[in-house]
Amino acid sequence: MKALFALLKDYWGILCRPSVYFSLGFLTLGGFVAGIIFWGGFNTALELTNTEKFCISCHEMRDNVYVELQDTIHYTNRSGVRASCPDCHVPHEWTHKIARKMQASKEVWGKLFGTIDTRDKFLTLRRELAEHEWARLKANDSRECRNCHNFEFMDFTRQGKRASTMHSTALANGEATCIDCHKGIAHKLPDMSGVKGW
């Protein structure tokens, strides 16, 4: 412990003393360039983990949830616009994205220790995993839905009678948010006993 303190003290000394051999220009410019490289590298790596290709590189995602997504309107539809995994499961805004990515370290843990590495394990945990996503979307007012589905631009006259009734009342006055009714639109649902409205 003492040795560690001594080492840290040495480094602190180096940081505190003025540089002897390097010019101020080198240090500032060098720092700037290194900053670009590190920051750019960080963001590139971050974006790499934010692709569907990355998500389905693990069999847990590819064989369970991704298969189910393929039947739904968020994967295939008449206009060919589709949502990929991170569109719904990772916030698009930077601050929230970083927060979610830090949370995702738990998912790395799960991957390493095989928390859902078989179909049975996945099905057993499915309700809990689903509840995490419901809670997240409920707490942030379905922000990831609203990246594409903007309430301001919904044309109630083009919606079905049931849809426009619900959207113009419960959704409009903030009583409900998307996930309250639209559970299981992209994946199969777990045992829904006890879930409100089911």
Binding site: D71, I73, M166, C181, M192, W198
Partner: protein, 161 residues
């Protein structure tokens, strides 16, 4: 020994005779109006898949105990042991909030007519009886008349003489 294969020989001979005496076209027209213009051996292009009728208007039932057809699209509705999407609107508890038709009281009874708290398992799988309709004309015509029409016709006929 020879008698044993006799039926086979006779059958083969009969088959040959029948095959030789075909006096109708083997490539007969297709059975009904499903693929107009086609014959039995020809594959016609499939008609485009029609949309679900999605007007939310209740349709008339042809007879009183007909399971009502579903007047809206049910794409992606999950009905399995985990959950039943239909019941999120049509169950007793939810129908007031959603103003959807409550499922019939018979769906809350077991087969002995005893009322249950929740939907009876034998009535749980909605699409076994209730189906959505497509925006298409009937493939085959029919002359079905409802009982009301028959009774009306009967009453009208009795008045005349």
């Amino acid at each position: 020994m020879t008698f044993r294969i006799l039926p086979l020989v006779l059958l083969a001979a009969m088959g040959m005779v029948l095959a030789a005496e075909v006096n109708y076209p083997l490539d007969a027209p297709g059975p009904d109006g499903r693929r107009p213009g086609g014959t039995l051996t020809r594959s016609m292009p499939a008609p485009p898949i029609a949309n679900d009728e999605n007007k939310d208007l209740k349709r008339e039932r042809n007879y009183p105990d007909q399971p009502p057809t579903i007047p809206h699209s049910i794409r992606g509705y999950q009905i399995d042991k985990n959950g039943n999407k239909c019941l999120t609107c049509h169950s007793r508890a939810n129908s007031a909030r959603t103003q959807a038709t409550m499922i019939s009281i018979t769906h809350y009874m077991d087969r002995d007519g005893q009322a249950l708290a929740a939907v009876s398992p034998r009535r749980y799988f909605c699409t076994q009886c209730h189906v959505p309709q497509k925006e298409v004309l009937p493939l085959v015509g029919n002359t079905f008349e409802t009982i009301d029409k028959i009774l009306q016709d009967d009453a009208n006929a009795a008045q005349k003489p």
